[in-house]
């Protein structure tokens, strides 16, 4: 339905473009050089004022239509129907009305519900026709107002360019809107979570058992939300990942920038970058398919019991994924050290190795640290590898051969297949998301700051 309306608006805009263009040409009797702006600008100007307000109206309308009709429905119910109902029960009532309206009747709906369903259907039809009429009116208004202005002296190009600039500004603002959306949605849901669970328990509690009874009488663990084990697990896995990635990434960057033949560098670098292009779900499956069994059987031969979903296997695979980050950041940082510093070191008689460890690395250290911080934030936020290869149960342990869980694993397991927004279990995912967002944001800001400051120093 919405699709057809948008198509119709597009068609109207095209028609008005043709009309506007034709009118502009006609206004000077075909002598186009007498026009201030070229005819296509006149056409575009009219089309923009026909199309854009109409599209905006449609977007606003479909955003507001649902909530408004819901509110009207609740008002229209007989007095006292919703007395003593909480938010969740009212939501259930509304969805029952809607499913009856859609023709999916389960059991015997009450008379009130049937009446309301009928009203709902009627109002939906009214709203839809009203939207069509309103959109047509807006489009027509735009057409009439702009079409009247077409004349040889009308500065259509300026008008069109102003509209264009406005559109471009709107597009740039989407970046801010996205951030705003992330922050607001996480904050609102997290605040709702903290209404039910105290922040003290969340940030300092040692017990994470989010499986609370959804239905009455369901037997589950108590439902406790102490996130320390989850944070500790995240840190453990990220630490293992960095333990794998930092030496490999750093040493390969040193070799590639300082020792390798240019031809070797040209072949190895793209291969390393391939590692960064592989989707994380592939790494997750690799961890389950190859790495975890290998780690486990290795543990058996040396006599250490290793869980199949050990922190070590997940962390090691995550480390492989992060190698290219570390290596490309270190590569950039080492390459950015001015040649004069290298030459100075060589002139003192230092070997290549001494130049690297005593001159280049200290000079490149801020850049490398920035890269490592970015990689840490990447590791903390990485989801699929840990969802597939790490544990779900939160245990507080520093043993890398036991399963631990991470923030991202909890977010995904708490939200998969669950649509209820009102219980602490799903809201907890948003609280965890907020922590994740804030931590990675801080890491990124620091890292970008270090990298930029250091780059300026040498430029």
């Amino acid at each position: 339905m919405i699709g057809y309306i948008l198509l119709a608006i597009l068609a109207l805009a095209l028609i008005s473009y043709v009309i506007g263009r034709y009118r502009a040409v006609a206004s000077v009797g075909g002598r186009q050089y007498e026009l201030h702006s070229r005819p296509s600008y006149h056409g575009t100007f009219v089309a923009a004022w026909v199309g854009i307000p109409a599209v905006l109206l449609v977007l606003v309308w479909i955003t507001l239509q649902g909530p408004v009709i819901d509110r009207l429905l609740l008002w229209s119910l007989p007095l006292g129907t919703t007395d003593g109902m909480d938010q969740g029960q009212i939501g259930l009532l509304l969805s029952e009305i809607k499913s009856v309206a859609a023709g999916n009747i389960f059991g015997e709906p009450s008379l009130v519900v049937e009446d309301a369903a009928e009203r709902y259907l009627r109002w939906q039809t009214i709203a839809r026709s009203a939207m069509v009429v309103a959109v047509l009116c807006v489009a027509l208004l735009g057409f009439v107002l702009t079409n009247a202005r077409i004349s040889p002296t009308f500065r259509a190009r300026h008008g069109t360019e102003r509209v264009l600039t406005g559109l471009m500004i709107a597009c740039s603002l989407i970046a801010i809107l996205t951030t705003l959306g992330i922050v607001l949605s996480l904050l609102i849901e997290a605040l709702r979570f903290f209404e039910r669970v105290s922040p003290l328990e969340f940030f300092f509690g040692l017990n994470w058992e989010p499986q609370i009874p959804i239905r009455e009488g369901q037997v589950t663990a108590g439902g406790s939300f102490g996130a320390i084990p989850v944070f500790a697990g995240t840190l453990l896995i990220s630490f293992i990942a960095m333990l794998v990635a930092v030496p490999i990434g750093l040493y390969s960057a040193i070799y590639l920038t300082e020792y390798a033949h240019p031809r070797l560098r040209a072949t190895i670098k793209p291969i390393m970058e391939l590692l960064a292009g592989i989707p994380t779900v592939v790494y997750g499956f690799f961890a389950v398919l190859t790495v975890a069994p290998a780690v486990r059987s290795f543990g058996e031969t040396v006599g250490i019991p290793i869980a199949p979903n050990s922190a070590f296997a997940a962390g090691a695979v995550m480390g492989i994924m992060i190698i290219p980050f570390i290596s490309s950041f270190s590569d950039d940082a080492i390459a950015a050290v001015p040649q004069s510093m290298r030459d100075g070191s060589y002139a003192m008689g230092a070997t290549k190795g001494e130049t690297i460890t005593k001159v280049l690395l200290p000079a490149a250290l801020p850049g490398i640290m920035g890269g490592i911080l970015l990689a840490v934030s990447r590791a903390i936020g990485e989801t699929m590898i840990v969802v597939m290869a790490a544990g779900i149960i939160a245990t507080l342990t520093a043993n890398p051969f036991e399963p631990v869980t991470t923030v991202t694993v909890q977010i995904v397991t708490l939200l998969i297949g669950d649509q209820e927004f009102d219980n602490p279990k799903t809201l907890a995912a948003f609280a965890l998301g907020l922590v994740l967002f804030v931590v990675t944001l801080i890491l990124n800001v620091i890292a970008l700051h270090i990298v930029r400051k250091y780059r300026e120093k040498y430029e």
């Binding site: 360019e161 264009l164 600039t165 471009m168 500004i169 597009c171 740039s172 989407i174 970046a175 996205t178 951030t179 992330i182 949605s185 996480l186 849901e189 030496p247 490999i248 990434g249 040493y251 390969s252 070799y255 190895i268 291969i271 390393m272 391939l274 590692l275 592989i278 989707p279 592939v282 790494y283 997750g284 499956f285 690799f286 389950v288 398919l289 190859t290 492989i320 190698i323 290596s327 070997t351 290549k352 190795g353 001494e354 690297i356 936020g381 989801t383 699929m384 969802v387 991202t408 977010i411 995904v412 939200l415 998969i416 927004f421 998301g433 967002f437 990675t440 944001l441 800001v445 970008l448």
Partner: protein
């Protein structure tokens, strides 16, 4: 400010002295060590990539073939009504066709076992064929029907027909008894020669099995019962019982008995490795399958169904068509949104934006968005698109919208780089002949920057194709058994989420399918990246 005259004048270094030479050797050794670390690091990185690719190819390759039986089927008009073929008893037709080819199974249980050679969807395959070709009713047709997962793997040699009957501990334990001379052989049969205490209480209760076990335990006190009692044949207690019955005087005494050894250990005593049929197959199934193979009816052609079928609960019928369609829709939405928006934003920021707080804020935002964890975008989609705007769950539209938010920074950054690369001379020339700033950019700069923009867009799309976590959160991992009902607003799945679901499936056949799906995904990614590289090469310009 140092005074030259106060500099300590050291004695000239003797570069030829052994200490100096040693020092130099040590310094160069350190240099070589650093180089070696570098080579090891690169070797590890490349080697790990190699292991990843090899293990995926090794497990995924079998899934590109599918074992099938070319079954000759008589479409019996008494079972399929020509007027209403959809209601026909195709299950029976398939059963009859199968039993015509194999040694007839006797019991109902055996019949059920034998039909399990074919996929559980066999009846639907035949039904769909007959519905498409109604003229075949009453005729004999030959159509290939996929075999079920265990037989697919058996035919491809992924799983063995027979497995070793005894585990390592059991074999070692028996070896120990042999070394101690407990195992004796008469007439080609092996016995255990044990000292048994004939416990009166156990004789009373008739527990001769207990007596046999006790006597064995005395020889192997450190081995758990499950690993050793299987050595005794079923008739071993009877041997003791026989002794007691012939000579009641032995009760309460310790006597020497020879207890027969069970079947696998008999083979082991002969120095051979005992094998048993893989538990996943019954003897009747193997016999029937061998008959089909012997008749040349079984083959494993290329598995087109992997690309043509949608998802299925049965690995032998599961395909990627639904996932590919879902990913296509989501990427289409993502492209339609992020391409125009990304270019507009980049053009504004690069060409028009005044340097002020707002534009600084936008730039910081874009840089940070590029580093926000993908799962957070999933939370955003869940809370805003599904929760606030009430868009349908699991729909490619929502998936595409979330992906476009993640792709935007990539496209904006690539576009700005491409715009910067267009030389000022072009702009100046255009301005010089009277173009407005908008005209300069729209008519001259953007077209010249387009190859760079497209390259960045393709790379962004490739990233979006591999994203999994945000799609999981908005539920784009639905089970889609048919492609026909798919749309931008209908529930869907995508390639990476399909991989996730298959990786989670318990059936063994899905391991191979998952690897195959990953290979398909990587294939798409390679194609997209190659397109980007080709584009860059084709339109690369030296100004």
């Amino acid at each position: 400010m140092s005074d030259v005259s106060t500099i300590d004048r050291r004695a000239a270094l003797d570069w030829a002295s052994p200490q100096a030479k040693k020092r130099i050797r040590r310094r160069y050794a350190a240099d070589r060590r650093l180089q070696a670390y570098g080579i090891i690091a690169i070797g590890l990185a490349v080697g790990l990539l190699g292991i990843l690719v090899t293990s995926l190819v090794a497990t995924g390759a079998p899934a590109f073939l599918q074992t099938k039986v070319n079954l000759e089927i008589y479409v019996d008009p008494s079972k399929v009504d020509p007027k209403d073929p959809a209601k026909g008893n195709f299950r029976a037709i398939v059963r009859d066709a199968l039993f015509a080819q194999v040694p007839a199974p006797e019991t109902d249980k055996q019949k059920t076992e034998v039909t399990k050679i074919l996929t559980s969807d066999a009846a639907y395959i035949v039904r769909d064929y007959v519905l498409a070709h109604p003229e075949t009713i009453g005729q004999r047709i030959t159509i290939p029907i996929a075999v079920s997962d265990p037989f697919d793997q058996l035919y491809k040699g992924v799983i063995p027909r027979e497995v070793e009957a005894l585990n390592w501990t059991q074999e070692r334990t028996f070896d120990r008894l042999q070394n101690r001379g407990v195992v004796v052989t008469h007439d080609g049969k092996a016995y255990l020669k044990l000292d048994a205490y004939i416990d009166p209480a156990k004789v009373e209760s008739g527990d001769f099995t207990g007596i046999a076990h006790e006597s064995l335990r005395a020889y192997l006190p450190d081995v758990s019962g499950t690993e050793m009692f299987g050595m005794l044949a079923d008739d071993a207690p009877d041997a003791i019982k026989g002794r007691v019955e012939t000579d009641p005087g032995v009760v309460g005494k310790t006597i020497q008995v020879e207890l027969p050894v069970s079947e696998p250990y008999q083979t082991l005593a002969k120095g051979e490795t005992p094998m048993v049929l893989n538990q996943r197959f019954s003897p009747e199934q193997i016999e029937a399958f061998d008959a089909l193979v012997a008749k040349g009816l079984v083959s494993s052609p290329f598995n087109w169904e992997l690309f043509l079928n949608a998802d299925s609960r049965f690995p032998e019928r599961a395909g990627l068509a639904g996932a590919i369609t879902g990913s296509f829709y989501a990427l289409l939405v993502c492209f339609l949104l992020s391409f125009p928006i990304g270019i507009s934003a980049a053009v504004y920021l690069e060409e028009f934006a005044p340097k002020n707080r707002l534009t600084d804020l936008i730039e910081v935002n874009i840089n940070n968005l590029a580093a926000v964890p993908s799962v957070v975008f999933g939370l955003l989609g869940l809370a805003v698109f599904l929760g606030f705007f009430g868009l349908p769950r699991s729909a490619p539209l929502v998936g595409g919208m979330v992906l476009s938010l993640m792709t935007l920074p990539t496209i904006i950054i690539a576009t700005r780089a491409a715009l910067k690369a267009v030389p000022p001379s072009i702009r100046e020339a255009a301005l010089g002949i009277g173009a407005s700033k908008h005209q300069v950019i729209l008519h001259h700069v953007l077209p010249l920057a387009m190859p760079g923009i497209l390259t960045g867009t393709i790379i962004g799309m490739a990233q979006a194709l591999g994203e999994t976590a945000p799609l999981l959160l908005i539920g784009m991992n639905a089970f889609i058994p048919s492609v026909e009902s798919m749309g931008v607003l209908e529930p869907a799945t995508a390639l990476p989420t399909q991989i996730f679901s298959w990786a989670d499936s318990p059936e063994r056949g899905f391991v191979s399918r998952t690897s195959a799906a990953i290979l398909v995904l990587l294939g798409f990614l390679v194609m997209m990246n190659m397109a980007a590289v080709a584009l860059r090469h084709m339109f690369e310009r030296k100004w």
